[in-house]
């Protein structure tokens, strides 16, 4: 399948694909992919999961002034089985780590993970002298986007969310991902 256009280089074709957005020019896989990606990236359902300081900033992002709903991600789900975006907001201790891993495993795939704040990225201020804090959640769940800050501003979180949307757009619709 597919329409062959003679005299056009690869980069021209890509430009037509992105600019014209006429599904007729695409292969079936691309057309389906377009719809899937469009749907996925504009209706991310985050899991309502916050452990510490960053959770308050996450609430601020979701409420009036910063209004996460503009980006289609305002439906915070309390159950991991209904969510496809895990915003790990706040410090993860070893005791909590098991619960976090379980939550991630319970989410239907494909799912995406934002590590929000220094603690989830690398332990943050609790790197030294702490006997409980996990030094980076990427040691046991795959992370897509890191949002640094202690805590990050709501704008940063929104930027992180847009990075996830960009990532969804760029990757194949069937994600093959190695999970150890």
């Amino acid at each position: 399948m597919g329409v062959e256009l003679k005299g056009l280089t690869g980069s021209d074709l890509r430009q037509i694909e992105t600019e014209s957005a006429i599904p007729g020019l695409w292969t079936l896989e691309k057309a389906v992919g377009f719809i899937f990606k469009w749907a996925r990236k504009n209706s991310l359902w985050p899991l309502q999961f916050g452990t510490a300081c960053c959770a308050i900033e996450m609430m601020a992002t979701a409420s009036g002034r910063y209004d996460l709903a503009r980006f289609g991600a305002e439906v915070f789900r309390p159950s991991p089985r209904q969510a496809d975006l895990l915003i790990a907001a706040g410090t993860i201790t070893e005791k909590m780590g098991y619960a976090l891993k379980k939550l991630y495993d319970q989410m239907p795939k494909p799912s995406w993970v934002i590590a929000m704040g220094s603690c989830t990225i690398a332990g943050g201020p609790y790197y030294y002298d702490s006997y409980t804090v996990v030094k980076g959640i990427d040691s046991f769940i795959p992370v897509d986007v890191y949002v640094p800050g202690c805590p990050p501003r709501p704008e940063s979180l929104i930027h992180g969310l847009m990075a996830i949307q960009k990532k969804i757009e760029d990757e194949p619709i069937f994600r093959r991902r190695r999970v150890e």
Binding site: K95, Y127, Y131, T132
Partner: protein, 157 residues
Amino acid sequence: MTLDELKAKIEERFKDSILTAVLSAQKELIVTVKPEAYHEMAVSLRDEEGLAFQHLSCLTAVDYPKENKITLVDHLWSYRHGHQMTLKLDLPRDNARVRSVEDVWKSANWLEREVFDLYGVTFEGHPDLRRIMMPEDYKKHPLRKDFSDDGFIVKPN
């Protein structure tokens, strides 16, 4: 009642149970008590009219490895009279056991569990002495000064 009067009163009332009673530079009354008289004294401190320390603000411990002791510290406050005091008792580091005051102040329940968890002080007569912060199968006592563990990185100076 001023602190001096309170000090005199406590010294007179509990002269057999206390070791020292000092007024610190920060204007706090610090009373060191014999471990065996601790529980009995706690009951009197709470119930007696002129003392009425109904509120146990804080219960914690301090580790002194050089002197080989763990000091248990209680901070008491009386809403009725508005005075406060610190109750201290020294326990041997390798066998730290003391009678629980959970039946005197209910708030001691979790505070004692915390001290048990992080310092390894055993409270006799506590109804539910389990670890509270760390996982139940954890073996060490993190707030002791000689604590070390995998993944515990001491900040280099």
